[in-house]
């Protein structure tokens, strides 16, 4: 099996040897990536699920990750905010290395928002409470400020009139938009999307994608696991094709759609783009 052919310019040492107070500026200027994965390996028992993933994402980039089920794409995106551990390699997010240190993990989780396939809204809280809980408890914002920000976000995702309903009273598309607003309320620097439209009815996919396109155009750094190729074509800066725990191919949407290099990529694309 061919190994990963994707070129990564930055080494972990380049970031870690830089004084911590300089890293934020360097990320801002695009000198070092905001997310760097270096030779990341992960095993589930004996099953080698991630086999040397290398990836760098610069501030403001929109990355689309796609590939067959079981290829490790969801597992990889979940290692970035440490919902999954990895056994080998290094991941550096926003200048902080992900280690076992719980303080580093909590710091990184504050700076990354995540949207799940199954929405995972808190069913016992209203929409507004879902959104304001973390800003109030983690960022220690006063309630009034958190609610003001929450209402702005609900307007942005198009459902300000649902603020006092419970998640169970909303449609799937509305729930996922609340989930996006909830993640944005923490004002994260990076947004992770783990198959955000896979659990939705067809007519609701568009309302969620519209919100994501708007977010991408506003300059948010996004890593998106999805099979929505229309979305990728419209806003992705780069696409990564995962198969069997490796990155098989990467490139701009242009390259991937018109001139894929690897046979496995061609086969997969032909299967999903009928």
């Amino acid at each position: 099996m061919s190994t990963s052919v994707v070129e990564v310019k930055t080494t972990p040492e380049q970031i870690l040897e830089m004084p911590e107070e300089h890293r934020a500026e360097a990320i801002e200027r695009g000198e070092i990536p905001i997310v760097l994965a270096h030779e990341v390996h992960k095993w589930y028992g004996n099953f080698h699920v991630l086999r040397g993933i290398n990836m760098e994402v610069y501030k403001g980039e929109v990355i689309v990750i796609f590939g067959p089920s079981g290829s490790g794409k969801s597992t990889f995106i979940r290692t970035i905010n440490r919902l999954e551990e990895y056994q080998k390699g290094k991941i550096i997010v926003d200048g902080t290395e992900l280690s076992r240190d719980i303080r580093n993990i909590e710091k990184i989780r504050m700076e990354t928002g995540m949207v799940f396939q199954q929405f995972n809204l808190f069913p016992h809280l209203t929409v507004l409470q879902n959104i304001t809980l973390a800003p109030i408890q983690v960022r220690k914002w006063p309630k009034a400020k958190a609610e003001e920000v929450a209402m702005q976000l609900l307007k942005r995702v198009g459902i300000p009139d649902q603020a006092n309903k419970f998640p169970g009273q909303l449609s799937g598309g509305q729930q996922q938009r609340v989930a996006i607003a909830r993640a944005l309320a923490m004002q994260p620097k990076i947004m992770l999307f783990d198959e955000p439209t896979s659990a939705l009815d067809p007519e609701m996919i568009k309302e969620v994608l519209d919100v994501m396109v708007e977010l991408a155009e506003s300059g948010m750094t996004m890593l998106v696991v999805t099979h929505e190729m229309g979305f990728a074509r419209a806003v992705a800066d780069r696409m990564y094709f995962f198969d069997q725990g490796q990155i098989v191919e990467s490139g701009s949407p242009e390259q991937i759609f018109t001139n894929p290099q690897e046979d496995r990529t061609k086969l997969f694309l032909s299967q999903i783009l009928h």
Binding site: L83, R109, F116, N120, L133, Q137, Q169, A183, M186
Partner: protein, 403 residues
């Protein structure tokens, strides 16, 4: 037919659902006498009910000698609590009524009718002919206290929210201070004089309010990743669940003094309370654990991804959902605990059941078991049913199974 249906859809006419209306006779015919075997079963059931209920009612109203209850009413209610200090129990009750009225106005503003109905019960007590004038007056004050709390809560619902929480938290220590006494304001009443319904209620209330948080901690401990905490929780739960409550109570009453140095004396009632709390906590923990296991992993992940730490995740996301899911089992446990307090009679405390046996030992009332036990059974039933009813209201209010 087809055409007509389509027409209805296209014009967008909204059809009302079909309604069924019955007259009393129609209802009887449909539900009790629809076929010959339903009719037979109905008649048979009516006959069985008749032969059971008729002699019971005849006994209750014509043959039973309720004198035993009337004469010993104070014993049943408060045991040997000194008569000149009973006003303290009344104060505790009035404070409870006030708090309940306030809570009702703030949390259940729409359930006015039930509240009004509940107010009739103390008035019913006040109308009983055989109680003292002092009690008559106090039952009326009880209602007035509840009304005062309700009025205050209705007048300023927002501003009273915080005082209500404070009152609820402070009620318990106040209750103990009132009943036990504080030198030099209130004379100390030793626990060996506590008895009857008073003791039963104290044991149950202490048991529930202390074992509930303890059970939550044990349940969380059992799911903890810290090996010592986990091991301790599992050992505790499994050992206590393997032992009958009577054994725990006997251990607390009889064996504990053997292990402790003679100068340390722990009060009998305290020991019984500790036994009940420790016993109930193990069961509570398993109930709560059941609720914890029903929470999907995605809830933890969503909370962590937002940056909530372990404590915040447990406190704001997991426990509220877990506890809401297990309300019926928890209340079941509360009811069981309430009735299990009667086991302290075996180790010599004079709770409701203990008082019953002392009353039956009085020469004037030998052979009055039926009257006495029926009376205390009724008291147990009233409180158990109240708990069960309150839990169903709570489930509706919290929308279990609806969202």
């Amino acid at each position: 037919m087809m055409n007509r249906n389509q027409e209805q859809y296209t014009t967008g006419e909204v059809l009302a659902p079909p309604t069924e209306r019955y007259t009393v006779l129609g209802w009887l015919k449909k539900n009790l006498f629809s076929t010959w075997y339903y009719t037979l079963l109905t008649l048979l059931t009516l006959y069985v009910l008749y032969i059971i209920i008729k002699p019971t009612l005849v006994w209750v109203f014509t043959q039973a000698q309720w004198q035993v209850v009337v004469v010993n009413l104070r014993l049943f209610m408060v045991g040997q609590y000194p008569a000149d200090q009973i006003f303290r129990i009344w104060i505790a009750l009035h404070l409870l009524a006030f708090t309940a009225g306030l809570a009702w106005a703030i949390w259940l503003p729409r359930s006015r009718r039930i509240g009004a109905f509940l107010l009739l019960i103390p008035l019913g007590f006040a109308a009983l002919p055989f109680i003292s004038t002092f009690s008559h007056i106090n039952w009326v004050i009880f209602d007035l206290a509840a009304l005062a709390g309700w009025g205050l809560g209705t007048w300023k619902p927002k501003a009273m929210r915080r005082p209500l929480i404070v009152l609820l938290l402070a009620y318990f220590p106040i209750l103990i201070l009132l009943i036990l006494g504080v030198q030099p304001l209130l004379k100390i009443v030793k626990t060996n004089l506590w008895g009857g319904l008073l003791l039963t209620m104290l044991l149950a209330v202490v048991g529930i309010t202390v074992s509930f948080p303890l059970g939550i901690l044990l349940a969380l401990g059992r799911k903890s990743e810290l090996p010592i905490v986990k091991l301790f929780s599992i050992l505790y739960i499994e050992i206590i669940r393997g032992v009958p409550l009577v054994t725990v109570l006997f251990m607390a009453q009889l064996m504990l003094p053997l292990f402790l140095p003679p100068q340390i004396k722990i009060d009998n009632v305290i020991r019984a309370m500790a036994g009940i709390v420790l016993f109930s906590a193990a069961y509570m923990a398993e109930n709560v654990r059941g609720g914890l296991q029903a929470i999907p992993k995605g809830q933890y992940e969503a909370a962590w991804a937002l940056g909530l730490n372990g404590f915040q995740t447990t406190f704001f996301i997991i426990l509220p959902q877990a506890l809401r899911n297990v309300i019926p089992v928890l209340v079941n446990q509360f009811i069981a605990l309430f009735k299990d307090t009667s086991l302290v009679a075996i180790v010599g405390l004079l709770d409701l059941l203990g008082i019953a046996s002392t009353v039956l030992a009085q020469p004037a009332f030998i052979g009055k078991q039926r009257e006495v036990y029926l009376f205390i059974a009724l008291i147990y039933w009233v409180f158990s049913y109240a708990m069960s009813y309150a839990s169903r209201r709570l489930e509706v209010a919290l929308g279990v199974g609806e969202r």
